[in-house]
């Protein structure tokens, strides 16, 4: 019994793992779920900043593992999302500070207390990634529509499979509809065709994300943001809802030629 542990991972750095963890976490908490977000990027902690909780970090993941505190003591409650708690990473340590077994123990303890445990994985394919993934029930693989990011996602999916983590879904982040329409960016279909896993979210590029990240106010809390809506939709799909896809292109002028091309594509 207990909650579901979800690892958010990507292989490549900078594609939006931490932003996704924070926003999907808050979106789930807004659906009245009890959520813990775990920063597994030991030594390069970020999730506290994105959530605006950097000044409240007292204990961290490594302290729990080393017995300096209990799990409950290290958890920080979010200021606005009352159902959301953060378990921060240690900043002054490295990935070796925690073993896989210890990570599994912490995650399973959190699963007893929460409906969802979201684990923000570090970039890379080394121990840090393995520790983050090992305690998870399902994986969300984040990629951007770039050839390099898709290749790293492909590698990560292969590694997840070999770890026996066969339940995984894809989030395509930072889609720029106008570039896709012009043919200058891989489109969603290209990415799914290559990675051949289930799609759970498409998030458009949104300059507001940078502002929200710096402010520590996740974009899902902004009602007018398309990216925020996309993250809410991901949370709803995690909860099993059947949510229609956001029409990212509908307001773009396609012209007659584009329209004919679309018809042709069907």
């Amino acid at each position: 019994m207990g909650g579901i542990a979800i690892v958010i991972t990507s292989g490549k750095g900078g594609v939006g793992k931490t932003t996704t963890t924070a926003n999907v976490g808050i979106a789930l908490s807004m659906k009245n779920k009890r959520v813990a977000v775990v920063d597994a990027d030991i030594g390069l902690r970020n999730l506290d900043v994105v959530l605006g909780l950097e000044n409240r970090v007292v204990y961290n993941l490594v302290d729990i593992v080393e017995g300096a505190c209990g799990v409950k003591q290290a958890l920080i409650r979010h200021k606005r999302a009352e159902n959301l708690y953060l378990l921060p990473a240690a900043q002054a340590r490295t990935k070796d500070a925690v073993t896989s077994e210890q990570m599994v123990t912490v995650v399973s303890e959190l699963k007893k207390m929460f409906d969802f445990v979201l684990i923000d994985s570090p970039a890379g394919i080394e121990a840090g990634f393995r520790n983050a993934a090992t305690g998870a029930d399902i994986a969300l693989v984040v990629t951007t529509p770039e050839v390099s990011a898709v290749r790293d996602a492909d590698r990560i999916i292969g590694l997840l499979d070999s770890m026996g983590k066969k339940e995984h879904s894809l989030i395509i982040n930072r889609i720029r509809p106008e570039m896709v329409v012009e043919g200058n960016m891989l489109d969603v279909r290209d990415v799914i065709d290559i990675l051949s896993i289930k799609l759970i979210g498409i998030v458009p590029e949104d300059p507001e994300i940078i502002i929200s990240t710096n402010k520590g106010e996740p974009i899902v809390m902004d009602d007018n943001s398309l990216a925020g809506k996309a993250f809410i939709n991901i949370a709803r799909r995690i909860l099993g809802e059947n949510v229609p896809w956001l029409k990212l292109e509908e307001r773009r002028k396609k012209g007659l030629f584009g329209w004919i091309k679309d018809m042709w594509g069907k």
Binding site: R151, D152, D154, R155, I157, G158, L159, D161, D193, I194, L195, S196
Partner: protein
Amino acid sequence: MEREVKIKGIKGGIVTGIPEDIPWKIALSMLRKKLDNEFFTNSSIILDIGNREISRKEITTLLELLDALSVGLKGFVSLDERSYLLLSKYGFSVSRSAEGLQSGAESEYEMWKRVEGTIRSGQKIESESNILIVGDVNPDGEVSASGSIVVLGALRGIARAGNKSKDAFIAAIRLFPQYVTIGKYWSDFSKEKEKLQEKPAIIFIEEESMVLRYL
């Protein structure tokens, strides 16, 4: 040769020797006793018939028996000229020695290694036989076979075929590889790349060069 069905394992196969001087019917019942064991189910054997002259009917009864036991047949070892020709005529792999059969040099009907699922970036599939991939081979995924490679999906990564044979081929439902090799031949189709099409294709060696043909 001894009056007993003998089984021995050699590198990569099981060789079953059939005595030459006992009637075929008795030889088959001896073979049945030896092979009627879970251990051999779904395995493939090489049948050494030595100097025996085998007939068409005898081949049929043998195939029926092996079929009933769910045992596959990799090929024959035959020293008798007539049997050799007859068996090759029927499309079996035949050799003078079990090792000859192993090398794959004379045999057309080799084993296929079947792999299901996507071969992803960083993954490598290798086999001493032919390889059948039921899925895609993604960029930086690699398939390497001594024989031929068939991809029932998109080949976007690397395929190395025919490490031992120039007759090997590479086929895929969609072919956009990083590069392919067949024996010593190599190509990334950089000249053709603009023209690569979303169609099933086969690559083989013809007149000392690599040929890509759409099917």
